[in-house]
Amino acid sequence: MITALLLFWPALAALLVLLVKGQGAKRVAFIAALVEFAFALFAATSFVVDRTAPQFALSVPWVESAGISFSIGMDGISLLMVLLTTFLVPLIVLSSFKHDYKKPNAFYALILFMQTGLIGVFVAQDAFLFYFFWEVALIPVYFISAIWGGARRVAVTFKFFVYTIFGSFFMLAAFIYLYFQTAGTGVAAHSSDVNAFYQLALDSSTQSWIFWFLFLAFAIKMPVFPFHTWQPDTYTEAPTQATMLLSGIMLKMGIYGVLRWLLPVVPNGASQWLDVVLVLSIIGIIYGSIIAIRQRDLKRLIAYSSIAHVGLISAGIFSLTEQGLQGGVIQMLSHGINVVGLFFIIDIIFSRTKTREILNLGGITQSTPALSICFMILMLGSVALPLTNGFVGEFLLLSGVFQYNYVFGAVAGVTIILGAVYMLRMFQGVMFGTKSPETEVFADLTFNEKAVLIPLVIMVFWIGLFPNTFLDISEPAVFNLLNIIQRR
């Protein structure tokens, strides 16, 4: 039942928020998101770690005659994604407190409504249910970006939208095809249950094209090179909260999709295309990093760095090694934490100086010890310094890629050099040097801002120092996944 509660509570709360007039909506939304986080923590404490089957499962017939059911549950990977989502959403809501968005009730209701979609994606155990939530998660963030975004928001969000819909159609087509190949139980001739998909025996040429149909949808969402061109514009134009939702949580839908609905469903199709996917992912790592080096707009810089980071996650996962997959899972958490923190810091800087151009900034550290420390720690997490969260993920991912192919591993490893290049350049340009007219007066973090950043900073070190807290949760599910892939 806890899964259903996690799933529907945000949607219910969204309706509640809609009724609140004025800026009180943000407080209601914040409390609702905290309650949701408490539910997730409760689920985590009663979660039995060494089981591979989904826990807190619930299955209700949806379209019974068609074998489609409302089937939800959580294994270790789902639980971690739910924890990430429920941890980040309250912080994202809190991070918006200094803004007075117009129509606040709609704004916050959409964020909560989106959370239902996100949770749904991570807990769905039925293909069509998964597809349904996949689309549900998209609508709110689309509206948030299109209504509350920057000057070019309409054109940019439209592009984002078309891209995603384009991918989704392929996914839906693949799901429908797969569905018709399954054998149903009871009255239904077919089943869209995840296990029915896992039991499919498809010949290798079918698997090959199904692979691309599904991969396209997931690759656009992450995004993997060369399907990424919606991302920098969207991240830059969307309001910061939407950027955080997109980069912190929504892109993990794509990676999660690969883990749950791609690799175990068409393992043979995947193995035919591993080299291609790894090469694309590694191109993304290098390409995104190199572009990030000379970006002047902070948001765009982090957007490109995100392409590099996600490329590494993708490469590690497709190495199909224990280290690569576990690294992918833990790096999803770390990336979510770091990227949300960095976008928030950019938002803080922007709200104080009205600029995101590195050239107009500088010397901020002179008056802001607290901001400097938080920014530094998040940056170090992002460049994978040992004992921060980024190191654990990158170490495992690179180790996985290296096991797959030495040359791939070495080339992907260049990320640790280039990452330092663009991150240090950014940090130096913004924080060090002499003050500019824009940064002449710059107040340190407020209480609310600290309340957002300190939990993130704690998580940077928690994952960095005690990654086994999280690795242990996902290990049975990941190893089970590898078994399914290897068995078929």
């Binding site: 489609i68 040992p386 490893g413 040097g433 190893f479």
Partner: protein, 652 residues
């Protein structure tokens, strides 16, 4: 590496081991969080006190270790990262090598912390400085105490971060920030090699923990196999970055932008010797890859020579010392390359004494000269700074290899091993050591002898440093004088303390190839001759320097005087920075712009847009977009729902 014995029923040892890095970490946290709030006296007390405590615990551990049979042990704290067969423990290894490094790092570290309390007392970032310095100690201690390669890597990157933070300590200055960034990035190039080496070690030996890896390595059939060469070369790439060897050395001279105590601690005595520590720690692996050892010897020798030639022409007191450090590190790698592991480590130790001394002495000079670093504007300082002068003289004698100072014993032993390996290498080594003696005495003479060449204001301000700064100088001077007696060559009929202390470290390696670990088989006559030659060479160099800079009172020409082509080449450090800038940095910047402006925006996005237009039959979707994409979305949703309902009817 010997058999590892777990500590039997002694949990208090685990606590003590943990405290060694933890105390500086607590100092870091206190001074970091209390920055600008704590009084300076307390900051200094926390900063120095924690390191002193670590030193005392290290001494205790050392005494306990030697008195209880010198058996190495590991201390396991918890499982840090475990994924499948990859198990990385947060654990320490205590053996001869660790203890030696511990004593050196905490001992010299404490002296430099003490000195900093005086040197930095006028700086507004006093608390920040001590906090970073303590963080450095923490990282460096993890580096030498870790019991597996990943733990070493943790410390390795940690010291790199602290180096970055401390080089750019005065972060209003963009040049300093650039130097800091350069150091971090060049180190990261090396770190990538190290990281890949760790992956390959894991794949090859199934573990990253020293005891398992080394035990497994002795069972591996064959010497110089491709995988062994690859592992050791990758590790060595890491060492090149950290220890500033060609081609990754240009960051170290730039690193002098940091406060002088930082140069002494991080960029001379401890961090830059991490590469040597790594090779000695992995001696089993390197013994198995003679090809790599040859490469190391050559790189070390070339670095020693190139850096020494650059040192001849520098006029910044810290730059001279920086190039001298690069050159001395080259010597140490040369020794590693000829498998003289203990001799290399011996030189690490004596070098830590005299180079820390020289840097702190230089700091004292800079302090007295109101932040002047150009030796052309100094001169005649020995009267105003008698203690600094005397201790600096001892350091200079030690580095030049004049008996009985510390550098004589270690360098002589090192060169004897090189001689045994190759006479030509020895001859080049001798040349580098000739240049060392020359440029060091050039520095000494230009700074302390002759007439004062600074401004009247500087002359007025000249003063000897306070006791908190001179006491560390005196202690280091004593160590630089007598430190060499730890390794008196057998030809003098005495026991080589360092050599016999470290010898159990090579138990595994001896099983593979015992020759390098036997006593040198040079005749006594040859040994005396080699010693005589190196001392004679040093003395000749000193005499030349004396004639040039004291007798003739030559002062290096000012910036705008044209130089001879060779002089110009050396003065400008062979234009290596410019070359790197042109072949790496600029193309990368160009690529970044090209990728962004052309490939991403025009090419990839252009294709996507083209495909998009084709797929959506151009125009039509765009019309929906203009009328509001919401309508389009509703259409899509309806389409999807109809599809599902259709399926329902179709099947039902």
């Amino acid at each position: 590496m010997q058999e590892i014995v777990m500590p039997a029923n002694r949990p208090e040892m685990a606590l003590l081991c943990l405290l060694i890095p933890l105390l500086p970490f607590i100092g870091f946290a206190l001074n970091g969080l209390g920055n600008r709030k704590l009084p300076k006296g307390l900051v200094g007390l926390i900063g120095c006190g924690t390191v002193l405590a670590s030193f005392l615990i290290s001494v205790y551990l050392f005494l306990d270790f030697t008195s209880s049979g010198s058996r190495p042990y590991t201390v396991d704290f918890y499982n840090w990262i475990s994924v499948g067969s990859l198990q990385i423990g947060f654990s320490f290894l205590i053996d001869q090598l660790t203890l030696l490094m511990l004593l050196m790092v905490t001992g010299i570290g404490f002296l430099i912390h003490l000195y900093s309390a005086g040197y930095m007392s006028h700086d507004e970032g006093f608390g920040k400085f001590f906090s970073f310095l303590n963080l450095f100690m923490f990282s460096m201690l993890l580096l030498v105490m870790g019991s597996n390669y990943v733990m070493m890597f943790v410390g390795w990157e940690g010291v790199g971060l602290c180096s970055y933070l401390l080089i750019g300590f005065w972060n209003k200055n963009t040049n300093y920030n650039n130097a800091a960034k350069k150091a971090f990035i060049m180190n990261r190039i090396g770190d990538l090699g190290f990281l890949l080496g760790i992956f390959l070690i894991f794949i090859t030996f199934g573990s990253v923990s020293y005891p398992q890896v080394f035990a497994e390595a002795t069972r591996v059939a064959g010497v110089d196999t491709p995988v062994l060469i690859a592992i050791t070369m990758l590790l060595f790439v890491g060492a090149m970055g950290k220890s500033a060897q060609i081609p990754l050395f240009t960051w170290l001279p730039d690193a002098m932008a940091g406060p002088t105590p930082v140069s002494a601690l991080i960029h001379a005595a401890t961090m830059v010797t991490a590469g040597i520590y790594m090779v000695v720690r992995s001696n089993v692996l390197f013994i198995l890859a003679p090809t790599t050892l040859d490469v190391i010897a050559i790189i070390g020798l070339v670095t020693a020579l190139v850096a020494a030639t650059i040192g001849l022409a520098q006029n910044d007191i810290k730059k001279v010392l920086a190039y001298s450090t690069v050159s001395q590190l080259g010597f140490m790698f040369l020794a590693l390359g000829v498998m003289a592991f203990s001799s290399s480590l011996f030189h690490v130790l004596t070098h830590a004494f005299f180079k820390a001394l020289l840097f702190l002495g230089a700091g004292s000079v800079i302090h007295a000269m109101s932040n002047e670093q150009d030796i052309r504007n100094m001169g005649g300082l020995k009267k105003a700074l008698p203690i600094t002068f005397l201790t600096f003289l001892i350091g200079t004698l030690a580095i030049s290899g004049i008996p009985p100072f510390a550098g004589f014993f270690s360098k002589d032993e090192l060169l004897a091993h090189v001689y045994q390996h190759s006479t030509i290498m020895w001859a080049f080594g001798l040349l580098a050591s000739f240049m060392t003696a020359f440029y060091m005495f050039r520095l000494l003479f230009l700074t302390f002898f002759g007439k004062f060449r600074g401004t009247e204001e500087q002359r007025h301000h000249l003063h000897e440093s306070p006791a908190v700064m001179t006491i560390p100088l005196i202690v280091l001077a004593v160590l630089s004088t007598f430190g060499g007696f730890l390794g008196i060559p057998s030809v003098f009929g005495s026991n080589h303390i360092i050599g016999s202390y470290l010898s159990p470290l090579y138990n595994y390696a001896k099983g593979i190839n015992a020759t390098p670990f036997e006593p040198m088989h040079l005749s006594h006559e040859t040994e005396y001759l080699l010693m005589g030659i190196s001392v004679a060479v040093a003395i000749v160099a000193i005499i030349i320097a004396y004639v040039m800079y004291v007798k003739k009172e030559t002062v290096p020409v000012s910036e705008d005087t044209p130089l001879s082509p060779v002089h110009n080449l050396v003065y400008n450090k062979y234009y290596i920075d410019e070359i790197y800038n042109n072949i790496i940095v600029r193309p990368l910047m160009w690529l970044s712009t090209a990728f962004y402006r052309f490939v991403d925006v025009v090419l990839v996005d252009g294709i996507v847009n083209g495909v998009g237009k084709f797929v959506t039959f151009s125009g039509r979707t765009l019309r929906y977009a203009q009328s509001g994409a919401i309508g389009f979305y509703v259409m899509v949703m309806v389409f999807s729902i109809v599809l599902i309902l259709f399926l329902n009817f179709f099947i039902g």
